[in-house]
């Protein structure tokens, strides 16, 4: 039990980290970049100093953790929410709108209000896809991808229209007043209160899924909706819709945290694809909320290091995207192969080998 819950995820995450570096080294070698200089730039960009770890890696990991949790909770409920990107953006838009309309005299409570706006907007944005699935049977994979495009263009229109800064020169909103900014955890770093909030979210979600009756219903609905209904009497449609909206709300909170904690303004390209990397984060964490903290950190470090690598060794940052994809593919493939070779599987994941399902003759 202990092994499965603690040692195994740690082992997997370290394996993924090592794998990422190996794949990157191979790619650098194949494309003729100086391997040592590039990797050392990557390392110092991710872990060079305490302040780089705090302001770079951890701050970069925070939106990935929020969206990673959003994807994980949806997937656990059997919903393929690919829309964390759009839900994050609508959350950011709502937080900005709150900051622009509410009077700054509200004080520090303003940031809380902005975050609440983000939660509601993200949940509502996911709610559209949930409604489409429930009423018309539209597959959420398709609807959420489309809603991502809509959210991105909506954000673009808003920062050129109603939410544009006062001089109407740049496609961005005005800077948030201090009432709507999240406090810094450690002065002198960019480490903001949203980081702690993300970690609390992860731990709370892990507890919710493991311990509570609602979390149990969510997991069972995702694992086998027919048995959940037949043996458990669970209202599976209601559980899926609730989980979908909650997923969007968490991604929306991530967007609101990004605006109130990092950028202090809404930009069209606020997210470099956090909501998509989130899928990789969730998969790497095996949809386990506490492992998502580690998975988000790995991706945060890679992306933070990638900028340094581009700056100092002229290696295109996109190469890290290739590495991320390779890591996910290798991990998924190892599970797939493992499922077919019991010994490999139990070595890598500690899970029991699959037993051959008894052939049941259902002749009529």
């Amino acid at each position: 039990m202990k092994f499965r819950r603690i040692v195994r995820p740690l082992f997997e995450l370290s394996l993924a980290g090592v794998l990422a570096v190996v794949v990157l080294a191979l790619l650098l070698w194949a494309s003729g970049y100086p391997i040592e200089r590039s990797l050392s730039a990557l390392w110092s960009g991710a872990f060079g100093s305490w302040s780089i770890i705090a302001s770079g890696t951890i701050v970069r990991a925070t939106p990935l953790l929020f969206t990673g949790l959003a994807v994980a909770v949806a997937f656990r409920a059997g919903i393929l929410n690919i829309g964390a990107e759009g839900q994050l953006l609508t959350g950011a838009v709502a937080a900005t709108a709150v900051a622009m309309t509410v009077s700054p005299t509200i004080g520090q409570f303003g940031a809380v209000l902005a975050l609440a706006g983000g939660v509601l907007a993200g949940g509502a944005w996911a709610g559209i896809a949930a409604l489409l699935r429930l009423r018309f049977g539209v597959l959420e994979v398709i609807s959420t991808i489309m809603l991502n495009v809509i959210a991105l263009n909506l954000t673009g229109a808003l920062v050129r229209g109603p939410l544009q800064e006062a001089t109407h020169t740049f496609p961005q909103s005005a800077m948030l007043t201090s009432a709507f900014r999240l406090p810094r955890l450690i002065p002198g770093t960019r480490l903001h209160a949203g980081v702690a909030l993300a970690v609390v979210c992860a731990i709370a979600m892990a507890w919710f899924l493991r311990a509570t009756a609602s979390g149990f219903r969510l997991r069972m609905t995702g694992a086998n909706p027919r048995a959940a209904f037949s043996a458990g009497g669970i209202d599976v449609a209601r559980v899926s819709v609730t989980a979908f909206i909650a997923s969007g709300a968490i991604a929306g909170l991530g967007g609101a945290v990004e605006v109130t904690g990092v950028t202090y303004a809404l930009y069209e390209n606020l997210s470099p694809g956090y909501g998509y990397t989130a899928i990789a984060v969730a998969l790497l964490a095996r949809l386990n909320p506490s492992s998502a903290i580690g998975a988000a950190l790995i991706f945060g470090a890679l992306e933070s290091g990638a900028s340094a690598m581009q700056r100092d060794a002229q290696v295109p940052a996109g190469m890290v995207g290739v590495v991320e994809a390779c890591v996910i593919l290798v991990l998924l493939a190892s599970e797939w192969v493992g499922a077919r070779a019991g010994s490999v599987r139990s070595f890598l994941w500690g899970g029991p080998p699959r037993t051959a399902v008894q052939a049941e003759v259902a002749d009529s």
């Binding site: 043996a231 458990g232 052939a359 003759v361």
Partner: protein, 493 residues
């Protein structure tokens, strides 16, 4: 039903169209076919009869290339051949309409036919082909209609036209009338007669003796994987067919004929149905005005052939399906052991403890006391003899028998007033079967009202204190002996 009988039925002199000889097929430890044979002549309607699990469908899957025999020979028009896939069978002019149609709901009739035919899609040509087949075969169908708007009968005509469009001259129809209304059934049967009279060949898998006798030229009866009777329809009767299907009475297990246990059924109704009807999503009535009661401390056995409406009846009593009409009085919580364990009863990727917690999951609140559930699970594993390392093992790691024992134990937790059980021992070995049976009898003796359906008639007879038969959606009480039950199931007189 007006079908010319006695005309055109001298088939003995005709050439053999399809010959299956000494076919053997095993799935693991289960022998589905044990040297079964079938000879079908050109131009005949050949009915294939047998109880549930007799091997009819398996034999026909082999004839259509969907499954391959372990031993035995297949010959078409006297020429030996092997079918690796349905494609091979179709090349030799064999078509099959399965019980569950393979149609794309969102597409039109013409598109579905083109999909089955292969090659480049030419709508105009496909429509022309359909209209031609439709006219020639007398199966009316609008090529432009969408499949989802068609009645079940029309969907079946489409499946037949699909097969004819591939130039099939031999059609295998797997229980075609099970899904049809009586009027549609009569039309279909009349059509098979005309098709055969025109030189085609039809193999009809069927349950209903009267239907079979009205249309077939020859009849083959299977029992337990073997061919037990082949003969001209004119030479058999409903009664002789029923005997062949059900087997000699010596095959009855002892418990079925042994006197009932001394316990007396208390006459306290636990579940009662008054005029309960169920309609499916197509609006077809699956269960007709069922009226019955199940009392405290009895096992009510349900016997029925596939698709007779028993599945709906059980789900209504278990509170898993709302009746369309009538009144149901039942306890709020009824235990239910569905036949498809992996689909409806367990979560394979969850632990045993979690699977036990699934019972009553709907009304759980707050934090689940996992340690208490784990203890319950461990004690269930002890009392129900579930073999596994511990309560935190994944359900997937258990054998089918152990999974089933846990499911039965879970549904009996807290001594529910009623328990509905469907094919409780399907796929289980002898030992697990007897353990499940013992659990059901013990629960009955403790006062639980139990309803058991099994596709194995012997199992129903072995367990039940009282038996009802569901046939064509209607419920009838019958005497608890093999012969009466068997005949009632088959609607034989």
């Amino acid at each position: 039903m007006v079908i010319p009988s006695g005309t055109n039925r001298s088939v003995t002199a005709r050439a053999l169209r399809l010959s299956l000889s000494a076919i053997r097929r095993t799935y693991g430890a289960v022998t589905a076919l044990d040297g079964a044979s079938l000879k079908v002549a050109v131009g005949e309607v050949h009915a294939l009869l047998g109880e549930n699990g007799a091997g009819k469908t398996t034999l026909m899957k082999i004839a259509f290339g969907l499954d391959q025999p372990d031993e035995g020979a297949i010959a078409i028009d006297g020429e030996a051949c092997t079918f690796r896939s349905p494609r091979d069978a179709m090349k030799r002019g064999i078509g099959m309409v399965q019980q569950h149609f393979a149609l794309v709901d969102a597409m039109t009739v013409a598109e579905n036919v083109a999909l089955g035919a292969g090659g480049p899609f030419d709508l105009g040509r496909t429509v022309a082909v359909i209209e031609e087949i439709s006219r020639a075969s007398g199966l009316p169908l609008d090529p432009a209609a969408r499949v989802r708007d068609l009645t079940v009968g029309a969907q079946q005509r489409l499946e037949i036209i699909k097969a004819l469009a591939r130039r099939s001259t031999t059609l295998i129809l797997d229980e075609p009338t099970a899904v049809l209304s009586p009027g549609e059934s009569a039309e279909l049967l009349a059509w098979t007669r005309r098709f055969a009279d025109g030189g085609g060949t039809v193999i009809l898998i069927a349950h209903k003796l009267r239907e079979v006798l009205s249309v077939a030229d020859r009849i083959t009866v299977m029992r337990r994987g073997r061919t037990v009777l082949t003969g001209l329809a004119s030479e058999v009767t409903e009664s002789s067919l029923a005997d062949a299907m059900l087997g000699a009475s010596s095959s009855q297990p002892e418990s079925a004929t042994a006197p009932r246990a001394a316990h007396s059924i208390e006459n306290t109704p636990v579940i009662s149905l008054t005029g309960v009807s169920v309609r499916d999503s197509m609006g077809v009535k699956r269960l007709h005005e069922a009226t019955l009661t199940v009392s405290r401390g009895e096992i009510l056995g349900v016997a029925a052939v596939e698709g007779a409406g028993h599945s709906e009846l059980l789900r209504v009593m278990a509170g898993r399906l709302a009746p369309s009409d009538g009144t149901l009085v039942a306890p709020a919580e009824v235990g239910f052991v569905p036949e498809d364990r992996h689909r409806d009863a367990v979560v394979l990727e969850a632990t045993l403890t979690e699977n036990v917690a699934l019972r009553g999951a709907k009304s759980r609140r707050g934090v689940i006391a996992w340690n208490a559930v784990r203890k319950t699970t461990a004690s269930l594993m002890r009392t129900r003899d579930v073999r596994s390392d511990n309560a935190d093992a994944l359900m997937r790691t258990l054998s089918g028998g152990n999974q089933q024992k846990l499911v039965v134990g879970r549904e009996l937790l807290g001594a529910p007033a009623a328990l509905i059980v469907e094919n409780p021992t399907r796929g289980l070995d002898i030992r697990a079967t007897s353990e499940v049976h013992a659990a059901l009898r013990a629960a009955r003796d403790d006062g639980t009202a139990i309803v058991v359906y099994s596709s194995d008639l012997d199992e129903v007879l072995a367990l039940a204190d009282r038996i009802i038969v569901v046939a064509a959606g209607r419920v009838a009480a019958v005497a608890a002996d093999r012969d009466s039950v068997g005949r009632a199931m088959l609607e034989a007189q």
